[in-house]
């Protein structure tokens, strides 16, 4: 567990504590691999993160870097292996049963796959009424009206309550998923790749809907995606994850204009430029090799095997860099040579 100690430094960001809605401190999630003698997939390997009230924090990274696992730790769908997650001043990693359920009233999730996230055996009305039933909110008649109101809120016909999910298109289903997340009037919503499975035209509609709802209900979002263009449009701040760790966090504009971590730079340069002339001239940074196995991550900086500026063997393959202030105010990066090359 050397990694545990190495990452135990306090996060370098200093924000007024009351402004922070959710704080992840040194969170770990290891999935044991059976039959491999104590080996584990280190899906989340020492993550520090804070989400401030009313903001949208974009979380980006390649597939398999632990984004979705982190989302499930934050929403307490999975227990942490180690670490602390504080929501509204309460450590949710210790909560069980009824007290955990109470937290869920304030914290909801929108899922990736609109075809898997709605129970095919339930009508839309039942799906939307379930959260209200679970918490005994209002009378039965009130709940029914609330369901129709929710449907209207997400731009669906309120008379759809007796329809089944399979009768709807992907975009419509995702709206139903959003309506369900809103049913309990939460203050915080995790969007786990909420638009990745949709057509580009539908993506724009759903993103606009999410923004409208955020304004209307003062929502805080954690918006997870692997598409930097989508995240840029929506986020106030952006965190970049690589192989179970956050490697850089900064204000949206700072991260796009002055990326400090070489991995962030590589991600940004992978966005195609709309102007074909510019696109032809520019030389995107291509990373060599594959994303390493999270069962046995590289020593030192875990990006050094693919990093264009790494000094390995050397400090990069020997010492794990901590998240430290680099570049703009409120910008942190975990790199020995942050901002160079």
């Amino acid at each position: 567990m050397a990694a545990l100690q190495a990452a135990e430094k306090a996060p370098a960001i200093a924000v007024k504590p009351e402004a922070v809605l959710l704080r992840v401190e040194n969170a770990f999630k290891y999935f044991p691999v059976s039959g491999l003698g104590g080996l584990a997939v280190r899906a989340v390997d020492g993550v520090d993160l804070e989400i401030r009230r009313g903001e949208t924090l974009g979380l980006v990274g390649e597939s398999g870097c632990g984004k979705s696992t982190l989302a499930r730790l934050i929403t307490a769908l999975l227990p942490v292996t180690a670490g602390k997650i504080t929501f509204d001043g309460q450590d949710i990693t210790k909560l069980r049963g009824r007290r955990l359920r109470r937290i869920r009233q304030k914290m909801q999730m929108i899922f990736q796959d609109p075809y898997a996230s709605l129970d095919p055996r339930m009508t839309v009305g039942d799906i939307l009424q379930e959260p209200l039933d679970n918490f005994g909110i209002g009378s039965v008649g009130h709940r029914r009206r609330r369901v129709q109101e929710l449907l209207r809120l997400v731009g669906l016909n309120p008379n759809f309550t007796n329809r089944y999910p399979h009768e709807f298109s992907g975009g419509q289903r995702q709206r139903i998923g959003i309506a369900r997340a809103l049913a309990l009037n939460p203050s915080f919503i995790v969007c786990d790749e909420a638009v990745s499975a949709l057509d580009v035209s539908i993506q724009a509609q759903i993103i606009n809907l999410l923004q409208d709802l955020q304004k209307e209900f003062q929502l805080t979002y954690l918006f997870i995606a692997h598409d930097l263009a989508v995240v840029r449009h929506l986020s106030d701040r952006i965190a970049v994850m690589y192989l179970g760790k956050v490697v850089e966090t900064a204000d949206r504009n700072d991260i796009y204009e002055r990326p400090q971590h070489p991995y962030t730079k590589a991600l940004l340069s992978s966005i195609p430029v709309p102007d074909p002339k510019v696109e032809r001239e520019r030389a995107p940074i291509t990373l060599k090799g594959e994303i390493p196995s999270p069962v046995n991550p590289p020593s030192g900086c875990r990006f050094h095997t693919r990093c264009p500026i790494a000094r390995a063997p050397g400090v990069c393959s020997e010492q794990e860099p901590a998240l430290e202030a680099h570049g703009a105010a409120d910008q942190v990066a975990a790199c020995h040579f942050a901002g160079q090359a």
């Binding site: 769908l77 869920r104 009233q105 999730m109 996230s117 055996r121 339930m122 109101e149 089944y164 809907l209």
Partner: protein, 308 residues
């Protein structure tokens, strides 16, 4: 909240065509002629079986209506009779009316075949659900026990149970239930394991659904399709096993007629009068075939991958 209404441009108001899940399945089922024929045969057989057991008269409604003879009354001067108006399928070695015995036997076979499924559903369903839902050592324990039960030959195990309880209708019923739950338990466990990983289950947990409601409202309804199919295929298996047990002389006791008992009775004189074996044999075969066709139809109708 009322002020919030209308903040979104209403973009997705088109009304999709309404189709319920079960009515959808029924439409697909009806497209399969063999399954519909099987269902028709089963319905007719159930009506005939109920009629054979109705009023107080031992021959039932059909005897009262003079359509058949009496299933237990012996006409010692009229054994091995050829089919006639009075005895449409002739008589057996003791001069009892064959048709009425087959119809009476249908009531026993169908009752055992269908009622046993409820016992299988309770035992196999609960064990599979508990193993799949809780996982860990509970799953391990229950599934190893299931494996052990699975390792015994079915018929042998049924024989052991029937021998232990003594031959009667109820001991066959319990023995079949105690042996045939194994397949269903495995099926339900697999279903629950896969459904548990679905995002809609996570969503239900997120919205504060209690474990009990999660099982009743999400896990059970979503594993129902394959369970219904398996139970339907279980009916002919149970009917066949009952016939085999009765044929071996440890099932339904004479003079109560069951198809297995009749085949056993006729077996002695099979060369003298093969009809004694052929008619109850056809009854067993027709029933099993019908349930198998219905099971095939249900499987295709309930399989979500078959949906357009």
């Amino acid at each position: 909240m009322a002020t919030a209404i209308g903040i979104v441009q209403q973009v997705d108001w088109d009304v999709p065509e309404q189709t319920g899940l079960w009515s959808d399945a029924w439409v697909r089922f009806r497209r399969n002629p063999l399954a519909v024929a099987g269902l028709a045969v089963i319905v007719v057989m159930i009506v005939l079986a109920i009629g054979a057991r109705l009023p107080t008269n031992p021959g039932g409604l059909w005897h009262v209506l003079h359509l058949t003879g009496d299933p237990v009354q012996q006409e010692v001067t009229n054994t091995y009779a050829l089919p006639s108006l009075q005895h449409p399928l002739g008589t057996d070695v003791l001069g009892r009316d064959q048709l009425s015995r087959i119809l009476y036997g249908a009531s026993i076979s169908l009752t055992i075949g269908i009622v046993v499924q409820f016992l299988i559903l309770i035992i196999g369903g609960v064990i599979g659900m508990v193993a799949g839902y809780f996982g860990g050592w509970i799953d391990n324990l229950l599934m190893r026990f299931t494996d052990i039960m699975y390792a015994f030959p079915d018929l042998l195990l049924v024989l052991v149970f029937v021998a232990a309880f003594g031959p009667s209708f109820w001991s066959i019923f319990i023995a079949l239930g105690l042996v045939y739950w194994v397949g269903l338990a495995r099926l339900v466990r697999g279903q629950v394991l896969s459904i548990k990983e679905k995002e809609y289950v996570e969503a239900a947990i997120m919205t504060g659904t209690s474990p009990f409601k999660l099982i009743v409202k999400h896990l059970v309804p979503n594993s129902l399709g394959p369970v219904i199919v398996t139970l339907t295929f279980g009916i002919p298996a149970a009917i066949f096993t009952e016939a085999a047990l009765s044929f071996l002389g440890i099932g339904i006791r004479p003079p109560e007629p069951s198809w297995g008992v009749m085949i056993e009775d006729g077996y002695a004189g099979i060369f003298a009068d093969p009809r004694q074996v052929i008619f109850p044999g056809i009854a067993v075969a027709l029933t099993m075939l019908s349930f198998t066709f219905v099971g095939d139809g249900l499987r295709d109708a309930l399989d979500p991958r078959m949906r357009r």
